[in-house]
């Protein structure tokens, strides 16, 4: 599953609107609980685990994409 698809499902936004510069807090359906649901979905889909600081500091789609990529290349 793609990152865009996960964003689309968690926040009910069109997948085509999900781009790297999208700021999570600009999504009207974002809140701290849905943020955690997003993280759980990404961790499950990509078999990764983020640190607490990463989870708290994720602001954009790019932040999450890069964190996933870093783990995939390790």
């Amino acid at each position: 599953m793609s990152l865009g698809r996960i964003f689309s499902e968690v926040f009910s936004i069109p997948e085509k609107t999900v781009n790297d510069s999208l700021d999570l807090r600009d999504i009207s359906s974002w809140d701290s609980m849905s943020h955690m649901m997003l993280i759980a979905r990404v961790e499950e889909a990509f078999a990764v685990e983020f640190t607490g600081d990463e989870i708290a500091d994720f602001r954009t789609v790019r932040d999450i994409r890069e964190a996933v990529s870093q783990r995939e290349t390790r």
Binding site: S32, M33, M36, A40
Partner: protein, 235 residues
């Protein structure tokens, strides 16, 4: 006393109940604006392994209205459809015999105020799982005045005499720990730890579906244990 404050969700996922289990009291922020496309009036179950929405039909829902100003459409048809949909999806699940009557009981109260119903269903689910946390509604107990954001949260903490405020980790950037410390309130952030989760579930999304899904496939004691699988960290 540990306090959490969160918008009410409909049949929420495991993480919501972890927040509830982490505190002595949770205040449902029902005098916040309704969120279209959010989780206040809908959630997902698994139908043949794929996510399927269960949605509470609302009258005149809008992001310009507060949650506690919105009403549920009073009609038996949609309730029967939801129950039928869950029945068909989970007919062979081992705990369907316990969970379906619970869902029917919950949905029987789905009329009138959305906020009152969300309070009721969270109380029912928490009782079923065995979470004794007190639940309040902000609109009923805490005057809003002109406060917003973390100032409102802090005001509720002070009114409650809370020693600790717990929020999901995803909201850490929204809070100023020094502001809370100056009022004698400790900030803690909850990070669900699903890594050791061995619960069965009906879809690929694991614990991110409605708690109904986990309750259908697992003994309630196992779900209760899963509500304690989190880390709390200071800011």
């Amino acid at each position: 006393m540990r306090l959490a404050i969160m918008q009410p969700y409909f049949l929420p996922y495991l993480g919501y109940f972890q927040l509830m289990a982490a505190v002595d009291k949770i205040a449902l922020l029902d005098d916040a604006n309704f969120i279209n496309g959010g989780w206040i009036n809908r959630n997902r179950i698994a139908v043949q392994g794929k996510p399927h929405w269960l949605t509470l039909p609302l009258a005149k829902a809008s992001q310009n209205r507060l949650i506690n100003e919105i009403e549920i459409v009073d009609d038996q048809l949609w309730k029967r459809k939801i129950i039928r949909s869950v029945e068909l999806s989970y007919q062979s699940a081992p705990f369907a015999g316990q969970v379906l009557p619970l869902l029917s009981e919950i949905l029987q109260e789905a009329r009138g105020s959305l906020s009152a119903f969300l309070f009721y269903q969270l109380r029912c689910l928490a009782d079923y799982i065995g979470i004794p946390t007190q639940i309040e509604r902000t609109s009923v107990r805490y005057p809003k005045d002109a406060l917003t954001g973390q100032r409102r949260i802090l005001d509720i903490c002070i009114r409650e005499g809370a020693s600790t405020y717990v929020n999901p980790l995803g909201g850490r950037a929204l809070y100023d720990a020094e502001l809370f410390a100056s009022a004698g309130i400790k900030l803690l952030f909850l990070d669900p730890d699903f890594s050791g989760l061995t619960l069965r579930h009906g879809g690929q999304e694991g614990p991110c579906l409605s708690i109904l899904d986990l309750l259908m496939f697992n003994p309630v004691i196992a779900v209760r244990e899963a509500t304690e699988m989190f880390r709390l960290s200071p800011s």
